[in-house]
Amino acid sequence: MTRPVLAACAAVFLLLALVPLLESNYLIDLFNEIMIYALFALSLNVIIGYSGNVSFGHAAYFAIGGYTMAILLTTYEWSLLPAFAAAVAFSFAASAVVAYFCTRLTDIYFAMLTLAFSMLVWGVAFKWRSMTGGDDGFVGVDVPAFIAERVPFYYFSLVVIGAAVAVLWVICHSAFGRALLAVRENPIRAGFVGINTRLMRWWAFVVAGTFAGIAGSLFAMVHRGMYTESAFWPESATVLIMTLLGGMYSFFGPAIGAASLFLLERLTNEYTEYWPLVLGTILLAILMFLPEGLAGLAQAIRRQILRGR
């Protein structure tokens, strides 16, 4: 990790750690949710930005992690660690199976297959009322007592997400991450130099699904519940927009995208109930004028300044 990046990360982490000092419940919840969605978007970017495939069903693994956590903590009264481990294991297993099938395809068929699997997960969450609560949602998750309060939970999720992002960073910047980029840029040539492209894409999918599951399990705890909307396809589209808004060709871009989108949504809701309309318009503008997202815009501005000197 280059020194400025490391310094910036430490600064962001510190600033986030200071949020509870503001003593605003609203802000603590807001930042907690932003962090969760930032992890969700970063995980999706392993598939999109690094392996070059578009997943249109990433919400499935978020939901699997969330529902597993909610059900194990509440219905089966497991303690935190085993439940968390199981949530990670479940989203790992689910994405491992789905990835096995999806990596057989590319392009539009890959996207459609991920969508189909996510709709299957949604269907199960919707219909398995006795387990998931169906369309009423799973309400009233028993969060362990030591993190039941708002501030302890915030620090818990800050530590978990910080660790998860660090691990993701290491994965993406390892030899594995470099090889993934090679697969994205030119799968045929990557195959010629001896990279097993399908296996690489499988791993990218599994890493992404597992970390989405971690984000989902935190989501279930912060909301004290889990709802079928989290598995429905527009949720997958929303996290895609976050990734795109931030910029999928940079590691931290999606996190910036998640934060921007969240803040924008809160801001818009102050003035109008038509947030989707605003979001759609923003999305159109990005697609037409900013295809590399905010991170791409920042880079372009930096290049302009350097050239001007």
Binding site: I48, V54, F56, F101, R104, L105, T106, D107, I108, Y109, A111, M112, L113, L115, A116, F117, M119, L120, G123, V124, F126, K127, P187, F232, W233, P234, A237, L240, I241, L244, Y274, P276, L277, L279, G280, T281, L283, L284, L287, M288, P291
Partner: protein, 314 residues
């Protein structure tokens, strides 16, 4: 036969399947329900498939077009004129206008972009249109009455069956044949098929390709509008109907093969049969079965039953 029914009823504990086996008219009604649902879905899915076949864009906004069709029928037929058919005509016309604006204003810029860009652009249109619909029609659930003369039921010998649903069963194949004649027998249809094969060559031969694209997009969107209009009497226009229908349409066009009209036709019938018999045999889980079929097809023949494999799908 009786022993089989008894076995199903008592040992399998499946009253739905037993009823299907023991009561022919019940089984027949399920068959007719499958066909009428299938034909309505076919009209919408055929539009989606047609657009993909030529423009190579998977249009998520197709579901929103369907919803607009249903709302327009409500406004024109229910509130304004009282004539259902005028409402359906207005739905088709309204969607044609929307299609021109959306294709010329947005879609024409993304034909050579990546799939991700295309998917997200159509999703942006979904977001905008669903809110526009909320602004115009609010969040109420509206009911649209059946057209005059189609409110009752017809005696089919075996059983009585609702006239309007029977009408849908007739209209579906008629539209399928019409679309087939259009693509196979008319000059415009030939040009659309040529555009699917080689856009640049067609353009080099002096054909105005952008007009063909616009034309196909209008045709596909009008089908969504008419499909939504025809669905309005039994599927009350309400927010959120766009998100549900688009997934059904994806299942149908991918099972049948993207870009193939007869593929969508067969895909819709498979969907209808699985959904309706599934809801009797395994109640409550009927929504999940279509996705299982979709998965099976994507894994064995990703290009669908009637589609052709594309290059580059390793």
């Amino acid at each position: 036969m009786d022993s089989i029914i008894q076995f199903v009823q008592q040992d399998l504990g499946n009253p739905g399947l037993a009823a299907l086996l023991s009561n022919p008219s019940f089984a027949f009604i399920q068959l007719m329900n499958s066909f009428s649902q299938a034909m309505n879905l076919f009209i919408i899915a055929a539009g989606l498939s047609l657009i993909f076949g030529v423009l190579r864009v998977i249009n998520f906004a197709h579901g929103a077009f369907y919803m607009f069709g249903a709302y327009i029928v409500y406004s024109v037929a229910q509130e304004w004129t009282g004539n259902f058919w005028l409402g359906v005509a207005a739905a088709g016309l309204g969607l044609a206008v929307m299609a021109v604006i959306i294709e010329r204003g947005l879609f024409q810029y993304i034909y050579d972009k990546e799939h991700l860009m295309q998917l997200l652009l159509t999703f942006a249109v979904v977001l905008i249109l669903s809110d526009v619909a909320k602004i115009i029609w609010g969040t109420d659930q509206y009911s649209v009455s059946y057209p005059a003369g189609m409110k009752g039921a017809v005696d089919l010998g075996v059983t009585f069956y609702p006239t309007y649903r029977l009408f849908l069963i007739v209209v579906g194949p008629a539209i399928a044949i019409g679309l087939w004649l259009f693509t196979e027998r008319t000059r415009f249809g030939r040009l659309t098929r040529a555009a699917t094969q080689d856009r640049e060559m067609l353009s080099a031969l002096g054909v105005n390709v952008p007009i063909i694209y616009t034309g196909v997009f209008i045709l596909g969107s009008v089908l969504a509008g008419i499909g939504g209009g025809l669905a309005a009497p039994f599927n009350s226009p309400t927010p959120g109907m766009d998100a549900t229908i688009i997934v059904d349409c994806f299942v149908i066009v991918i099972v049948g093969g993207l870009g193939s009209i007869w593929g969508s036709f067969i895909g819709a019938i498979i969907y209808g049969l699985v959904f309706n018999y599934g809801s009797v045999i395994v109640p409550n889980w009927q929504d999940v079965f279509p996705f299982l079929i979709l998965l099976a097809v994507l894994l064995v023949r990703p290009w669908g039953l009637f589609g052709k494999p594309e290059g580059g799908n390793a």
